[in-house]
Symmetry: C2
Subunit: 224 residues, 2 copies
């Protein structure tokens, strides 16, 4: 058993080192990396579609999108943005090795922002650094305002919370303030956006934030 | 590494044995066990609330409800049905050991149906037998009709599919037939129900099915 534990610790340390190196490499070329995490069907791909439309001609974007099976999300995004599907073959989260491989297969383009859309899962992806600068948790109004407290690690390890599907608020018992309060109990420093990919409400504010964060990265790299 | 793999295989075999023994024990006393699995916020607890109301006075129900943290779901269900919260402390799925413990803490009551509400996660719970007779996958209309193919193992290992939140169909791009077709490509033998916990549409049919399945179990135990 001791051998098993030591082997596992070595593997985890190696993954963290690789993630840090990937972040460092892309920082130097001014590419901001975002890791998008949420339940299945919260609207990660829809948010990326809306974001790509809004930022067209303003920022160079690319996407690595993870799923257990199928390339459905890559097919949706391909008309809008350079994208590579990462298929985990059953695993419940992306790993840095798969991200590095996808990045190479994408042709290592010069980007302003690289989005990594993780497997839909509010638990396991919380424990895996993919080299991101910002982890973005999404929560849809249809999932209920009680979710942050029930899945605390994901929200605690995120810097940003994007509430999605706010166009449905009239038909749901979801209270935006309750969800935000619950999330801030876990992570007081969250930057929070309320959005609808269908009506585009909140998308300009979200995209402006992305531009600022990318500029911040470029400035910090120039100074250091 | 060989030691690590062998230890893991032994643990998995032991878990399967315990799950089979739990199923066997409750079968003998005529208790049907259902394992409810879905994404976070699909409506497992809401379905159980509606089910408990519909079956009041007809069947004796009990619930073990799993979450990473909090006892929010148990609090919701407690006015309706005997319930015990199982808290995994961060783990992404329930284990048979936690189910056995919860069952004891519930007082091992004589039930017609024991519901196990798993952690909200469309990936990891697919790999863990909790002693259930039937695994029930839930999919909400708000998650999108493309999900079965993207999370195949969960639907392949289920006997039942419950589509939830059909009261929202007018406001969503979700196509019921597309979701069912996608799910049946993976698991042709699924028994399928379309429901709304808010309007109670489909709840009587679902509860009638539960009564039939429980009767089937009792008959099969008597014959054997």
């Amino acid at each position: 058993m001791k051998t098993a534990i030591r082997v596992n610790q070595d593997i985890q340390a190696e993954k963290k080192k690789r993630a840090a190196a990937f972040r460092e490499k892309l920082s130097r070329q001014g590419t901001l990396i975002l890791n998008l995490v949420s339940s299945p069907g919260t609207g990660k791909t829809s948010l990326l579609e809306a974001t790509a439309k809004e930022l067209e001609g303003r920022l160079r974007l690319g996407v690595l999108v993870g799923d257990l099976a199928t390339d459905r999300d890559a097919q949706r995004l391909a008309p809008l943005v350079p994208v590579k599907q990462l298929t985990t073959g059953g695993a419940c989260h992306l790993e840095i090795s798969l991200v590095e491989q996808g990045w190479q297969e994408l042709g290592e383009p010069e980007l302003d922002i690289l989005f990594i859309e993780n497997v839909g899962n509010l638990v396991c992806p919380a424990s895996h650094d993919l080299g991101e600068h910002l982890r973005v948790s999404l929560l849809s109004t249809t999932e209920g305002d009680d979710k942050p407290g029930k899945y605390p690690k994901m929200f605690r390890t995120s810097q940003v919370l994007v509430l999605t599907k706010i166009d449905l608020l009239d038909y749901l018992p979801f209270r935006v303030e309750a969800a935000i309060e619950d999330a801030r109990l876990i992570q007081p420093n969250l930057d929070i956006f309320t959005t609808s990919a269908i009506t585009a409400e909140g998308i300009p504010e979200w995209c402006e934030y992305l531009e600022q964060q990318r500029q911040k990265l470029v400035t910090s790299v120039q100074i250091s």
